[in-house]
């Protein structure tokens, strides 16, 4: 049942009259797919993995210590001072929430558009979503000051307060949006993983593994009746997650846009934030998957074509973001509001000019390299650009949060934001947490949606057979 697709086939070129294959390998069968994905979790971890895990786990532990220090001492350990009360914590929050968006976009929106190339990358992207949302949720949770009272954000019948949350505040919408997003992403991710967990269960040699994966896979048998409802549920979840993912960053942007601060109070924010989120998320997927596919020998499943498609998305969303930057300036000039005009001139040429131009260079200029085929298909080049995009998108949030807050209507209250070592440590620490979780995911869970890739392979074989038998398909 193997398909005769050469291992080194460049599937980024379209062949006339046929679809470019998404699964490569001369001897690739359903079983080899199972084998190559499952063995990652079955064999002893490689030295590279162990070293990476140890480093990341220590950084994550450092993050935990910093959080304990913050809670014990108070938020004064951060650089948040008047007038910039939303410093790095909120920058990091928006950055991480944005990263998460690519996962849901790949798994939900590309599913609805029947983009088969999503199947090789959706699992890792969804996992990335969950871990990014974990990092994102940490920051507002500890930013409330008294983190042990963070549950006050939720509407519960309080015997202490005798009052309810204020539902006209975008910050409360944010609580609902991010928690719903985290929940639905988790359900979606887990549900997609159950058939693959059943594969792990059935391949388990020792009883403990079989028990754990047996419980996690809920007794999945692969029955056609189950598949029928499962696919329906998956499609429904995709249809629900698609508007959800758009709503989440829209509502995050409302945190800014609903206020009256010059530079924040703009209607362009929701689409601009969503595009930026997808942009940064895809860049993060590239950053994660390029090393992953070579470390775990998955080049035949995560092909150059997959990566190239993602680079095209990065190019498109990067250009949308660039357009949004330009539009902001145009509206600031066209609107003729002096404070608004000042805010944007201050952004580009004020004390934070360096951050602004880092942002423009990384977000607008660097993805333009992807117009060229070489950069879209060269692994080193795409990783470098994706890291630039990640840096740029962090700076975008920094520019929005800090430059607007530091200089608002009242010049006597202006200030210059300086982060403390705790700010820097927490940003690094959150990356440590993120990579630790991702490495654990790679080690213990199916990083590629095997059942979906097999379905793509089945389709590929079917098409090939049909062609051989002279049928029109």
């Amino acid at each position: 049942m193997a398909i005769a697709v050469p291992n080194k086939l460049d599937n980024t070129y379209e062949q006339p009259n046929q679809r470019a294959p998404l699964v490569l390998g001369e001897s690739t069968t359903y079983h080899t797919i199972t084998e190559s994905v499952s063995s990652i979790a079955e064999r002893m971890p490689s030295k590279g993995w162990i070293v990476a895990f140890l480093i990341c786990a220590h950084v994550a532990a450092f993050f935990g210590i910093l959080i304990a220090y913050l809670i014990y001492t108070g938020v004064g350990v951060w650089g948040n001072r008047s007038p910039v009360f939303w410093g790095w914590p909120i920058v990091n929050f928006v950055f991480w929430v944005g990263i998460g968006h690519a996962g849901t976009l790949i798994s939900a929106i590309l599913f609805l558009f029947r983009q088969d190339w999503r199947t090789s990358i959706n699992r890792a992207a969804e996992a990335m979503t969950i871990f990014a949302v974990v990092c994102a949720g940490t920051f507002p949770g500890i930013h409330v000051g008294r983190a042990w009272l963070a549950y006050w954000l939720f509407p519960y019948p309080s015997l202490n307060l005798w009052m309810w949350p204020q539902f006209r505040s975008p910050l409360l919408w944010d609580v609902f949006a991010v928690s719903t997003y985290a929940t639905v992403s988790l359900l979606f991710w887990y549900m997609g993983m159950v058939p693959d967990l059943a594969t792990f269960r059935d391949r388990s040699k020792n009883k403990f593994r079989r028990f754990v994966y047996g419980v996690l896979s809920l007794g999945w048998s692969g029955s056609a009746r189950h598949w029928h409802r499962y696919e329906k549920a998956y499609a429904l979840l995709a249809a629900l997650a698609a508007p959800l993912v758009l709503s989440v960053h829209t509502i995050v942007s409302f945190d800014f846009a609903v206020s009256q601060l010059p530079g924040w109070h703009t209607t362009i924010f929701p689409p601009y934030f969503v595009a930026g989120a997808v942009f940064s998320g895809f860049a993060m997927v590239i950053t994660l998957l390029v090393p992953c596919r070579s470390m775990f020998k998955l080049e035949h499943l995560i092909t150059i074509r997959h990566l190239e498609n993602m680079n095209k998305v990065i190019l498109a969303t990067g250009s949308i973001v660039g357009l949004a930057y330009g539009t902001e300036f145009f509206i600031a000039w066209y609107g003729q509001v002096p404070a608004e005009k000042f805010a944007f001139i201050n952004r580009a040429f004020g004390p934070y000019w360096w951050a602004y131009w880092i942002m423009v260079t990384c977000n607008v200029i660097s993805p333009q390299l992807f117009w060229m085929r070489f950069f879209r298909t060269n692994l080193v080049a795409m990783v470098i650009v994706s890291i630039f995009v990640n840096i740029g998108m962090w700076f975008e949030r920094f520019v929005i949060v800090v430059s607007s807050l530091s200089r608002d209507y009242l010049p006597s209250a202006w200030g210059y934001f300086t982060p403390t070592w705790v700010d820097v440590g927490m940003l690094i620490g959150s990356f440590g947490l993120f990579f630790t979780l991702f490495l654990l995911f790679c080690r213990f869970l199916p990083i590629i949606a095997m059942s979906e890739v097999k379905a793509v392979l089945a389709h590929q074989i079917h098409v090939k057979h049909a062609a051989e038998h002279g049928e029109t398909h």
């Binding site: 049942m1 069968t29 359903y30 079983h31 199972t34 008294r146 042990w148 509407p155 015997l159 005798w162 009052m163 309810w164 949350p165 204020q166 539902f167 006209r168 975008p170 919408w173 609902f176 949006a177 719903t180 929940t183 359900l187 058939p195 059943a198 594969t199 269960r201 059935d202 391949r203 419980v215 809920l218 007794g219 999945w220 048998s221 692969g222 029955s223 056609a224 009746r225 189950h226 598949w227 029928h228 409802r229 499962y230 696919e231 329906k232 549920a233 429904l236 979840l237 629900l240 997650a241 508007p243 959800l244 709503s247 095997m450 059942s451 979906e452 097999k454 089945a458 389709h459 079917h462």
Partner: protein, 607 residues
């Protein structure tokens, strides 16, 4: 693998057979086999595959799932829940007023309702799917065969249930054997118990009980009273080493934790620091002359409550030589705003006694005169010589307003400091309106006035000439003396012309006579007799008749000087305005001779 009997079959004699399963290599083979089995009439069949096989639904006859309806219902419930929650919480249970928006602000309620719609729908899709699939279910006869592990890898299985009414072990096996399977096996019951081990239940129950325990302890502590202090995980600055109001302390001898201000403390308020401004006295100078008095005055300002106790009489007695270094210049900026304020306050507080013109004949005085009040002493005319600028310092005037003099009470408690200074400024204006000399006017105003005086003078001279001519004619015509004609023919201005002429000429002179004499003469001249002695210009005021004389030529020419006079006195002079009003009023009644009506007008104006 082949279709020959295997271990499963041999054990099927002891275990109940649940059906027959065939194994295939490709999804196409599976679908082909499923079609054949369905055509053979079997309905209780199932297929197992590592991925969803396209076309299997029709092949084994799977009906569409009701899952979408469950999700729709849950989504609707989520939306309604969100909206109801928001309306109830923010509009009914605890109404919030936010930016004057309605309690039920639907647009602001959309995001949370939307998120809850998605959340409920997603839960329904997720849990509904597992529920409809009967999962989780860990005991499955299919799992008894080790071969079946490949169902999640690369093999495809077709299963015929033993409960199908057409089922017959041999026939089913034969049918499946015809579909070129890799193998055909019996599926036997799972010999292991389907129920979970009791130990798991025990552990779960134990954990549940333990998890409730802390909550019960907390609940118990919330409703019971205890003499020991509350247990605080986070202190939240609840306990701080500071003293509450009214608490005692051992740190100070008087035992008071709340400390009174240190003596000599001054309030952090600019106006209170400006003691000169508060008192109208140059304290630095006073301190050199009379340090005790200066100290007393400072204490007085700083502790206004102790004013009564202090028994300070800042107003120096009239008779004693006043060596107090009064503030000589009004600290307020002298502009139209200050003067308008001063005028307003003057008319509220001062005019009742002193009169709006400042001659000391306000309504209270008039009444006192009328009832011959014995204890009443006449209010000073503000135009008295001793009160004029240069004679009495602004500071002393301020002090008089603040603390009173003779029968006049102090107004410090009623009139704020700034307003008192404004009144002082206005009093100066009032005085200037009576006493200013023409050279105090700006040059352009003065020359204008001179021109007008010339015009008037010429006119009066012409009239005089005509009158004399007429008189001569009359004398020639009859023996009636000119003096009688004056009284008998009041509707002509001729008899008074000499006086009018004299006056207008005086106005033209720059020798210290009032510049605005024409206009301001009237109230003064109309004032009752009692007022007259204090009028510095009473020599000019020859009574009602003279008044008439002036009125007679009231034309545009006449009105102008009064306008000018008004402006000259910084536009705030009541006296000027009064004159103007009168001029306007009297234009149509030039012919009226009755002196009484003039008096009434003056009184009204005073009011």
């Amino acid at each position: 693998m082949d279709a020959s009997p295997n271990m499963a079959e041999s054990s099927s004699e002891t275990s109940k057979t649940r059906g027959v399963v065939a194994e295939y290599d490709t999804p196409e083979a599976l679908i082909a086999a499923a079609n054949r089995v369905r055509e053979a009439g079997f309905t209780k069949t199932d297929a197992f595959s590592p991925f969803p096989v396209h076309g299997i639904d029709e092949a084994i006859g799977i009906k569409p799932t009701i899952l979408p309806w469950i999700v729709l219902t849950a989504g609707t419930i989520g939306c309604i829940t969100g909206l109801t929650m928001e309306v109830w919480m923010n509009a009914i249970s605890y109404p919030y007023i936010i930016s004057g928006k309605p309690y039920i602000s639907l647009p602001a309620f959309i995001p949370v309702s939307f998120e809850l719609t998605i959340l409920f729908s997603a839960f329904a899709a997720f849990f509904g799917q597992w529920f409809l699939n009967g999962l989780p279910k860990f005991s499955n006869p299919m799992f008894t065969s080790p071969k079946f592990d490949a169902a999640t890898d690369d093999k495809f299985f077709l299963f015929i249930d033993a409960r199908d009414k057409r089922f017959d072990d041999k026939g089913a096996r034969a049918l499946l054997g015809d579909t070129s399977p890799l193998s055909v096996d019996d599926v036997i019951d799972d010999p292991s118990p389907a129920s979970m081990p009791k130990a798991i239940y025990l552990v779960v129950i134990a954990l549940a009980v333990l998890s409730v325990f802390p909550l019960l302890v907390i609940a118990n502590m919330r409703v019971t009273k205890s003499s020991s202090p509350r247990f605080h995980i986070f202190w939240d600055m609840d306990f701080m080493p500071y003293k509450e109001a009214q608490e005692a302390t051992i740190l100070f001898r008087d035992g008071r934790a709340m400390r009174p201000p240190v003596p000599g403390t001054v309030m952090r308020d600019d106006s209170n620091l400006q003691l000169d401004y508060q008192l109208g006295i140059q304290l630095d100078e006073l301190a050199k002359i009379d340090a005790d008095r200066a100290t007393r005055l400072v204490n007085l300002v700083q502790n206004p409550d102790a004013q009564a106790a202090a028994a300070e009489q800042p107003a120096a007695p009239e008779e004693v030589v006043d060596n107090t270094p009064w503030v000589t210049d009004n600290p307020l900026p002298i502009n139209l705003e200050t003067l308008s304020l001063g005028r307003q306050k003057f008319e509220i507080y001062c005019a009742v006694c002193h009169g709006r013109d400042g001659f000391g004949n306000g309504l209270v005085n008039q009444r006192a005169q009328k009832i011959l009040a014995t204890t009443w002493s006449q209010p000073s005319s503000l135009h008295e010589d001793r009160l004029l600028e240069g004679k009495m310092a602004d500071g002393k005037l301020f002090n008089t307003i603040s603390n009173g003099i003779r029968k006049m009470p102090g107004y410090a408690s009623q009139i704020p400091v700034a307003d008192r200074w404004a009144i002082v400024a206005y009093v100066r204006v009032l005085q200037a309106s009576r006493n200013a000399s023409a050279d105090q006017l700006p040059a352009d105003r003065r020359s204008k006035l001179v021109r007008e005086a010339e015009v008037l003078k010429r006119k009066l001279e012409a009239e005089e000439a005509e009158r004399q001519k007429k008189a001569a004619e009359a004398a020639a015509a009859s023996d009636v003396p000119a003096k009688e004609a004056e009284g008998v023919v009041p509707d002509t201005a001729e008899p008074k012309a000499p006086e009018a002429e004299k006056e207008s000429a005086a106005a033209g002179e720059a020798d210290g006579k009032p510049a605005a004499a024409d206009a301001e003469e009237k109230p003064a001249s109309d004032a009752p007799a009692g007022d007259a002695p204090s009028d510095p210009k009473s020599d000019d005021a020859a009574g009602g008749d003279e008044k008439k004389t002036e009125e007679k030529p009231t034309t545009e020419d006449e009105a102008k000087p009064s306008d000018d006079a008004k402006e000259d006195s910084d536009g705030g002079s009541q006296a000027t305005e009064q004159a103007e009003e009168k001029a306007a009023e009297e234009k149509p009644v030039v012919e009226e001779v009755d002196g009484d009506s003039e008096d009434e007008d003056a009184t009204e104006a005073d009011n």
